[in-house]
């Protein structure tokens, strides 16, 4: 009986702690979230949860695309930077990098990506080898750099508006797998997100 108040106080404290939402700005000062989770500083822009959702969706779409699924051997895919036509500054490589790692993880070796973005460094290394300045030149059989069977790229377009009632941003994310030999678009995927919000009245 003597312990009843202590038990009640402990239960109340635990209850309060359990009710604290980590997504609340009044919650802990640093909170680790899953990248696919919407945080409390979420805005109208392109965010990590969009990146994860879209890149996973595109990776699944590419794996299911006929030219990839039924390819003889491993098609070589080169990534080309995204054409960002929105009002949001972004790292142009981050979406394609996320798609590449999702594909590399799930494709069981069906796709071969090449590091075309590092071609300057790769050429320099090859030249060092073939000139005999470093070892390994004997293994270089002419030009072994692979050409692309397909180019993966994308375009982001947006409709943005702002007024006294708030702000709204619609972003259309499209990705294409293109055959560079004939410019055929062999696969295309898209995702669209619309967000709206309102600044605090003191900033309107």
């Amino acid at each position: 009986m003597k312990n009843v108040p202590a038990i009640l106080i402990t239960a109340a404290l635990l209850g309060v702690a359990a009710c604290t939402n980590v997504n609340s700005p009044n919650g802990p000062s640093v909170t680790e979230l899953r990248p696919s989770e919407r945080g409390f500083v979420a805005g109208l822009g392109i965010e990590s949860q969009d990146l994860v959702t879209i890149s996973d969706k595109m990776a699944r779409g590419i794996l299911g695309a006929e030219p990839i699924a039924n390819a003889q051997g491993k098609p070589v895919v080169v990534l080309e930077p995204i054409d960002n036509d929105t009002r949001f500054p972004i790292d142009q490589d981050i979406f394609l990098t996320r798609i590449r790692v999702a594909l590399t993880g799930n494709a069981n070796g069906k796709i071969q990506f090449v590091a075309r973005e590092h071609i300057d460094k790769l050429e320099r290394e090859r030249d060092l080898k073939t000139s005999g300045q470093v070892t390994g030149g004997e293994k270089v059989q002419g030009n072994e750099f692979k050409g692309a069977d397909y180019i993966l790229t994308g375009t982001f377009k947006a409709i943005s508006s702002r007024g006294a009632a708030g702000a709204s941003d619609y972003v259309l994310y499209t990705f294409q797998l293109i055959n560079p030999n004939n410019t055929d678009i062999v696969w295309e995927g898209f995702h669209e997100i619309k967000k709206q919000g309102k600044d605090d009245v003191t900033y309107r």
Partner: protein
């Protein structure tokens, strides 16, 4: 008796002697450097929390004008929310709305023209870094900041933002004609040059002093602007045998003053009404109350009236309806832009600022040595002051 008179005198003399002998408290002079960015960072550190962004923007612009883009980038990134971020309610914004706090207790994010300028400079830094698409994204966000203007004709009407949006699109082999058309519509009689997608040297120009906010209305509840000033009407750029004369694209005083009323103005007007009613009740109640208290037969009524008057005065004096007049005060009055096509290598560039008669203002002439790199744009900001 003599001793009794002498002892206070002795005490006084002893005290004066001790005071005279006290080592003066020597305060070492603060060490100031002649680097404005370094000194600016000191001011940022000393500024109250709600004013830090304002100081970051001021110092960021100084860094950009002094060709320190890395410093400028860090300061603008710290000062400005992400492009899509919603400015959320917090303790300071709630306080700014309360009757007893002025508006300037909220964190500084500036008025739309200041936010637009923040995004404009951030875009320039992206362009300087070789990221034109991100620069274009910033110019679009900057233009969107101005979409809050009350009157339709003043919404998103910055000329330079649309012009540069279309210019970057044209340079990326995309269609920039719609943006150029919008820019020309907003430019009115000002003749904007056609795009030259082969231009690789982009000179962004700014002149004069921008507008300054001040409080207006009966009790400081209104936000009004003191106009900025620039006596420059055109700018002439000479480099490698080419001469380009460019007009003024935008006027910041116009942009600031055409914003119209803000949602916050309604809150300040309500605060001002409470203050004025409180002051009026105070005036009506206090003086007659004091008079009535003097007479026995009206003392009770006088005390009641005095009490009401004093409460009115207290409320009137406690309410804070003042508008936020913190200003990003090193912004220019005019913005302009010129594009040149130069070969790779070093080029001395001369910039003449011309008055309305077309005469060069001799004290404003600027000389810049540009290093043009092959395969990328060279972007430079030149200010007349």
């Amino acid at each position: 008796m003599k001793f009794a008179t002498a002892s206070p005198l002795l005490c006084l003399l002893f005290t004066l002697w001790m005071t005279a002998c006290q080592t003066p408290d020597i305060q070492p002079a603060p060490e100031y450097s002649d680097d404005l960015v370094v000194e600016g960072k000191r001011l940022i550190a000393q500024a109250p929390r709600q004013d830090k962004n304002l100081w970051r923007l001021r110092v960021g612009l100084i860094a950009l004008k002094q060709n320190q883009p890395t410093e400028a980038r860090a300061l603008f990134d710290a000062a400005m929310p992400a492009a899509g971020q919603i400015l959320q309610t917090d303790a300071s914004t709630r306080m700014a709305q309360s009757l007893f706090s002025p508006e300037n207790v909220k964190g500084f994010h500036g008025e739309p023209y200041e936010r637009a300028m923040g995004w404009f400079y951030r875009g320039l830094i992206y362009w300087m870094d070789g990221e034109p698409t991100n620069a274009r994204a910033c110019f679009r966000t900057a233009q969107l900041m101005d979409a809050l203007a009350e009157k339709q004709q003043y919404r998103a009407d910055w000329v330079i933002l649309d012009y540069l949006d279309g210019f970057i699109s044209a340079k990326l082999d995309k269609d920039g004609s719609a943006a150029l058309q919008r820019a020309r519509e907003h430019a009115g009689d000002t003749d904007l040059p056609d795009y030259n997608p082969a231009a690789n040297t982009l000179v962004v120009l700014q002149t004069g002093f921008g507008p300054v906010k001040k409080s207006g209305g009966d009790v400081g509840e209104a936000l009004v602007y003191d106009a900025g000033h620039s006596d420059v009407a055109q700018i002439r750029i000479t480099a490698a045998g080419q001469t380009v004369t460019t007009p003024v694209f935008d006027n910041l005083t116009l942009q600031a003053s055409t914003r119209g009323s803000r949602a916050m103005d309604l809150i300040l007007a309500r605060k001002a009404n409470v203050k004025k009613v409180g002051d009026t009740i105070g005036d009506i109640g206090t003086v007659p109350g004091v008079v009535l208290v003097d007479y026995e037969e009206t003392r009770d009524a006088g005390l009641a009236l005095l009490g009401v008057g004093l409460v009115g005065k207290f409320i009137g004096n406690s309410v804070e309806p003042r508008a936020d007049t913190r200003t990003w005060n090193n912004l220019p009055q005019h913005l302009s832009f010129a594009a040149l096509q130069l070969s790779a290598g070093e080029h001395p560039v001369t910039v003449d600022f011309l008055d309305t008669t077309g005469a060069a203002l001799p004290d404003r002439k600027k000389s810049v040595l540009l290093t043009v790199q092959a395969g990328r744009d060279t972007v430079v900001l030149v200010a007349d002051r």
